[in-house]
């Protein structure tokens, strides 16, 4: 949690477009694992040095052995030391690069999740869908986290081919010349491969996307398909492009195979050419057998330059991935303070001149509202009138663009977030539940509730009955329980009731309950839940009728304030309740309700 505060308290404003983000993030990652990265660098440099030295030493030892010379034993011993050192360095490199990457990924993710948890939900939603958010913290963070290891080993990876090239020149200049003549051919070939393959890959991916598109289309029409019994026909339609996918796939392998054949021929031919020229020089006594061996190995090392460049490419990819993670970190967190709320306050809520702007449009305009402590106020209005935004503002799920929200005389932005959440609770139309079991889902909140409290809350929310019907009752796993919309809502209500403080906001939280259950929950709310102020977003006339007062919103403004009975005479007011079913379909809640938001009706 300390990290949340740290990000929240960050004073320097992050660049809005995130251009400088990835660089700074990667430098931060390097600094976080400085020790391990340095050790990794040392290992890879050591491995590179050994790799460069070994062919020469090996060649020398071979010459001495062939001549049966005196120093042979020592030369072989040196070879042994170098070979063992190479194996040890390689192993250490594999170990350290894995560890550094793991550590960096964990660091990036902790930073990311802490920051996400400090955001106003709608701001996170503006950055991307939940799936996109997850990608930024999983796949993107994983790719970004390879950067320190890539930097540490990449330099050494470049040393080896360059060292091989230099060593080749040192051994014999004509051999060096033969090698250099072959290199342009290699480069040309590799470029031809890249161009060709990306073309066939693009075509392949287009066909693949076509199939995916057809499948998603059909999944969206599953009810129609089920009713028409047309699944076999649909499957044929979805898979119609499959033969074309196979064709494109074969083309890809063909192109790839050609390039592989080219690359597979070129490097051995290059070494053979080096050997041929070296052989001639051997005949003339300009070169020893050991030097020939060393030269052919150096040619091989030098040909690995492409791999070193590939590592550079990996770094570019890491940076691109880091940019996506950095963009997330650049979203400004919600404002928060450190003040306490007055003890035993009645829960008097006041909005003064509150304006909220989304995508350049004001969804709440200059709203003034006083909710006396302990009263129940219903907020009504057409879809898009700003009801859910008002609910979000009242409990601080979003920052306001102008105006102030006060609770018991303290401005909301000045209150310590932890204390605020203990006193202000929410229930939603489509609650997202957390925890492994039903009991955990209800107990989820600023503090753990006792099993007794959970059951009392479930009883009040009308959820006790169906929970007890589940195989393990309150211990039933959340993931295994098929919950209807109404059951989900009642669990969300129970969760809110179990942690009720001085202000409880019900954002359309009873829309899927039948009228009888809704009435029972309404009564229990008064009788069995800690008393306090209630703000409820209502779609039904009956809910508005039971409230002490009604706030009637229209296009982001308070159109009228009064009791349901007073307002009922206004035809426009009655028209607000004319839509049947489909509650809140147009007015998605701030965080987005996830994939289930399609308005499924049983």
């Amino acid at each position: 949690m300390a990290a949340i505060r740290r990000t929240a308290a960050r004073t320097e404003p992050a660049p809005a477009d995130g251009t400088d983000g990835p660089g700074r993030l990667l430098v931060g990652a390097l600094r976080h694992s400085a020790g391990r990265t340095s050790a990794l660098f040392a290992c890879s440099v050591g491995a590179a040095a050994v790799a460069i030295a070994l062919p020469a030493v090996l060649g020398h030892a071979l010459d001495l052995l062939l001549d049966n010379a005196a120093g042979a034993r020592r030369a072989v011993a040196l070879c042994a030391i170098l070979i063992v050192a190479e194996v040890v360095f390689d192993a250490a490199e594999a170990l350290l690069s894995g560890i550094t990457t793991a550590r960096t990924a964990a660091w990036l993710r902790r930073l990311g999740i802490d920051h996400v948890l400090s955001l106003a939900p709608h701001r996170a939603a503006e950055r991307g869908t939940p799936g996109d958010l997850v990608t930024r913290l999983t796949g993107n963070a994983a790719e970004a986290s390879t950067a320190p290891a890539t930097v540490a080993t990449g330099l050494a990876a470049l040393f080896v081919p360059l060292g091989g090239l230099i060593a080749l020149a040192v051994i014999d200049l004509p051999l060096f010349a033969v090698f250099l003549a072959g290199v342009p051919l290699l480069a040309w070939l590799l470029r031809a491969f890249v161009r060709d393959s990306s073309d066939s890959v693009a075509r392949y991916q287009r066909v693949q996307a076509d199939i995916a598109g057809r499948l998603v289309e059909a999944l969206g029409g599953s009810r129609t398909i089920a009713a028409a019994g047309s699944s076999a026909r649909e499957l044929d339609r979805i898979l119609a492009p499959l033969p074309e996918l196979g064709n494109q796939g074969r083309r890809m392998w063909h192109v790839y195979g050609r390039a592989m054949a080219g690359a597979g021929i070129l490097v051995p031919l290059l070494t053979t050419a080096v050997l041929a020229v070296g052989g001639i020089r051997l005949t003339h006594g300009d070169l020893t057998v050991g030097e020939l061996l060393a030269a052919s190995r150096y040619a091989l090392l030098a040909a690995g330059l492409g791999a070193g460049v590939g590592q550079l490419n990996a770094l570019v990819r890491s940076r691109a991935a880091a940019r996506r993670t950095a963009e997330l970190l650049a979203v400004p967190p919600m404002r928060s303070g450190t003040d306490p709320l007055p003890a035993h306050g009645p829960g008097r809520l006041e909005l003064r001149g509150v304006t909220v702007v989304r995508d350049g449009t004001a969804v709440l305009r200059d709203v003034h509202l006083i909710v006396p402590g302990g009263s129940t106020v219903a907020v009504v209005g057409h879809s898009g009138a700003g009801k859910s935004t008002l609910a979000a503002v009242a409990g601080r799920l979003t920052d306001v663009d102008a105006g102030t929200v006060w609770l018991d005389g303290v401005p909301a932005t000045e209150v310590d977030p932890t204390r605020w959440r203990r006193e202000v609770g929410y229930a939603f139309e489509r609650p997202a539940l957390f925890g492994d079991t039903i009991a955990e889902a209800i107990g989820f909140g600023p503090y753990a509730s006792s099993p007794g409290e959970v059951e009392v809350a479930a009883e009040a929310a009308g959820a006790d009955g169906f929970i007890r019907l589940l195989p393990k009752g309150y211990a039933a796993p959340l993931s295994g329980a098929p919950l209807s919309g109404g059951e989900l809502q009642r669990l969300g209500l129970a969760r809110a009731f179990a942690h009720a403080g001085r202000l409880l906001i019900l954002d359309d939280a009873t829309s899927s309950l039948d009228s009888v259950t809704e009435l029972r929950v309404g009564r229990a709310l008064v009788r069995d839940v800690r008393a306090g102020t209630r703000l409820l977003i209502a779609h039904r006339a009956s809910s508005a009728a039971r409230a002490d007062r009604v706030v009637w919103l229209e296009a982001g403004r308070v159109r009228a304030l009064g009791t349901h009975r007073e307002l009922w005479d206004v035809p426009d007011y009655r028209a607000v309740f004319a839509d049947l079913g489909d509650p809140g379909a147009a007015e998605g809640s701030a965080a987005g309700a996830g994939p289930g938001a399609a308005g499924e009706d049983r």
């Binding site: 955001l119 693949q208 996307a209 996918l245 063909h254 053979t272 098929p482 209807s484």
Partner: protein, 577 residues
């Protein structure tokens, strides 16, 4: 945990492709020949050519090796063709499997929203399987045939070389194989940890509002951190095994070189030539070591990844309970001339064995040609009722009779008896005509097409799209436009029983009125699940569901009998339609 089906499926897959495997092996033998000549040619070139002072002979031997290299390159083309014949069918099978399963599941549980994981399975995961499988085949094959060529070459140069080289090679491979299983377990543990973390992050991302509102930031952060740390621990454990693998690689690849040097005096004493020694070193450093290197890389990472992905893609039901499967033509025979009577007798239905029934002991009769409207709050079972009458769902108790016969799921071709149009209109990427004829097993005349499109008010949309044969891009249509197409489709269908399940909810009131009137005028029995209460005004009778009771009657009767209906209509009165 269910038993993995991958081994069985893999065996079946490979057994069906013996000829491809044989072809692949044939091409690969050319690779062995290349490896063999790579070392043998060098040895001969040195011993009989360069060291003997006859450069011509040396160059000739090297030319032979070069020709072998070119042939090897030519073989690569054949190898990749064989590879494509192995890999592409695998991908085809996976794509087919994923699509079938996704569709079956969606049809089985349409209430669950289409989930985006399907796209990932269809594209990403099937690609991972394709690439890893190809990589494995390529690398494992290459190692086997390279090793074969190298070992033959060593034996040809001097059999004693095998005594020096084979033991460390075998030892290293054994070490490597010993790391394989624990490493696969670590890899799987890592993927599991990664998945658990993704799952948690997904929950947090979708439920961010609830975390914040519930003040549970700290506990959620703690839980997420724990999963992040668990993932990092799994990754570190994997890294340790990667280190162990590097040592195995060293033993298998580098130790033979060292042993060769150490035993060189002994070998030279026994008459080994300088060329043979150089040839042996060429085998070790230029053929075996690179082949080993790629083998270990590929088997360690790609192998496990392939297994995990294949496991995921092939597990689960392939042909789940087919509530709406391809059943016999019983339904087609049920086509009769007149509008049918629909009867529900004490029908009870729940969405799971432990779930509370959504429909309980419902009795209902809809007379032939009648127009019934169903109203009630959302989540109360209106759509369930429509699905039961359509035969998409089967009641747990009681029966649904259409024309006196129990309703059966629809078979392979569109039903001539009934159609159901759900709220989510289905329009697919084909011509307007194909979309409209979707529910016509026998096609339709041009006049009928014109009449149906005119009746539901599709004319302007068809004109805009460019006529009946213009292609439709579903994504470019509004929800309302899609619903119009679906309504036209239902109107055109020969079925005498039409069920509209909030099928007009995205139309404006005027368009909705026109569409509902078109269906009321169409001969047949009509059941409409109402989205707006105004639909009830146009009905012969109204069924009110409030979760406890089901009350059926005319508008006037219901005003007396149902308080919920009064409530709904009271609000609606102000509309004055």
């Amino acid at each position: 945990m269910s038993e993995s089906r991958v081994p069985v499926l893999a065996r079946r897959f490979l057994a069906r492709r013996r000829r491809v495997l044989v072809r692949l092996a044939g091409w690969s033998l050319l690779e062995s020949a290349q490896t063999f000549l790579g070392g043998y040619g060098v040895a001969m070139a040195l011993d009989h050519g360069f060291l003997a002072g006859r450069a011509g002979i040396g160059l000739a031997w090297l030319a032979v090796a070069a020709v072998a290299i070119v042939f090897g390159g030519w073989a690569t083309g054949g190898i990749f063709r064989g590879l494509a014949d192995l890999v592409e069918p695998l991908r085809d099978g996976l794509v087919r499997r994923v699509a079938t399963r996704a569709l079956t599941e969606a049809i089985d549980a349409p209430a669950r929203a289409a989930d985006s994981a399907v796209v990932s399975r269809l594209t990403n995961q099937s690609e991972i399987a394709r690439d890893s499988f190809a990589g494995l085949v390529l690398v494992a094959r290459s190692f086997v045939f390279t090793a074969l060529g190298a070992l033959f070459g060593l034996a040809a140069l001097a059999p004693e070389l095998l005594v020096v080289v084979v033991p460390p090679l075998v030892l290293g491979l054994a070490l490597f194989l010993a790391t394989l299983l624990p490493m696969a377990a670590r890899q799987r543990a890592f993927l599991d940890a990664d998945e658990a973390l993704s799952g948690q992050l997904g929950m947090v991302a979708t439920g961010l509002r609830d975390v914040l509102a519930g003040g549970a930031g700290e506990s959620v952060a703690a839980r997420t951190h724990a999963l992040i740390d668990a993932e990092a621990r799994a990754a570190r454990s994997l890294a340790r095994w990667a280190g162990a693998r590097a040592i195995a690689l060293g033993v298998a690849g580098q130790l033979p070189v060292l042993l060769l040097l150490v035993s060189a005096p002994w070998l030279l004493d026994r008459g080994l030539t300088a060329g043979a020694l150089l040839g042996a070193l060429t085998y070790l450093t230029q053929a075996l070591l690179p082949a080993l290197h790629t083998l270990m890389q590929a088997l360690g990472a790609a192998g496990t990844r392939l297994l995990v992905v294949l496991d995921r893609l092939t597990s689960g039901p392939t042909s789940a309970r087919r509530r709406a499967g391809a059943l016999g033509p019983a339904d087609a025979a049920g086509a009769t001339g007149g509008p049918p009577r629909v009867r529900l007798r004490r029908v009870t239905f729940a969405y799971g064995p432990n779930a509370a029934p959504v429909v309980r002991d419902l009795d209902l009769t809809v007379e032939p040609g009648e127009h019934l409207v169903v109203v009630g709050p959302s989540g109360i079972g209106k759509s369930t009722l429509a699905a039961l009458v359509a035969g998409v769902l089967v009641p747990d108790r009681g029966e649904v009779l259409v024309d006196g016969r129990p309703v059966r799921p629809v078979g392979g071709e569109p039903s001539r008896q009934r159609v159901l149009i759900p709220q989510q209109a289905y329009v697919f990427g084909a011509s307007v005509r194909e979309n409209l004829l979707y529910l016509c097993p026998d096609g339709a005349s041009a006049a009928a097409l014109a009449a149906a499109t005119d009746a539901v008010g599709l004319g302007p949309l068809i004109d805009r799209l460019g006529g009946l044969d213009a292609p439709v891009d579903p994504a470019s249509l509004s929800q309302g436009e899609r619903q119009l197409i679906a309504l036209g489709r239902a109107h055109l269908s020969p079925a005498p029983l039409v069920l509209l399940d909030e099928a007009t909810c995205h139309l404006d009131p005027a368009a909705e009125r026109r569409a509902e009137r078109a269906f009321a005028d169409r001969p047949g029995t009509l059941i409409v699940v109402a989205h707006r209460i105004s639909s009830a005004r146009r009905a012969d009778r109204v069924l009110v569901l409030d979760g406890v009771h089901a009350v059926c009657g005319t508008h006037r009767e219901l005003l007396d009998r149902s308080s919920l209906y009064r409530d709904l209509v009271g609000d609606w009165h102000s509309e004055r339609i």
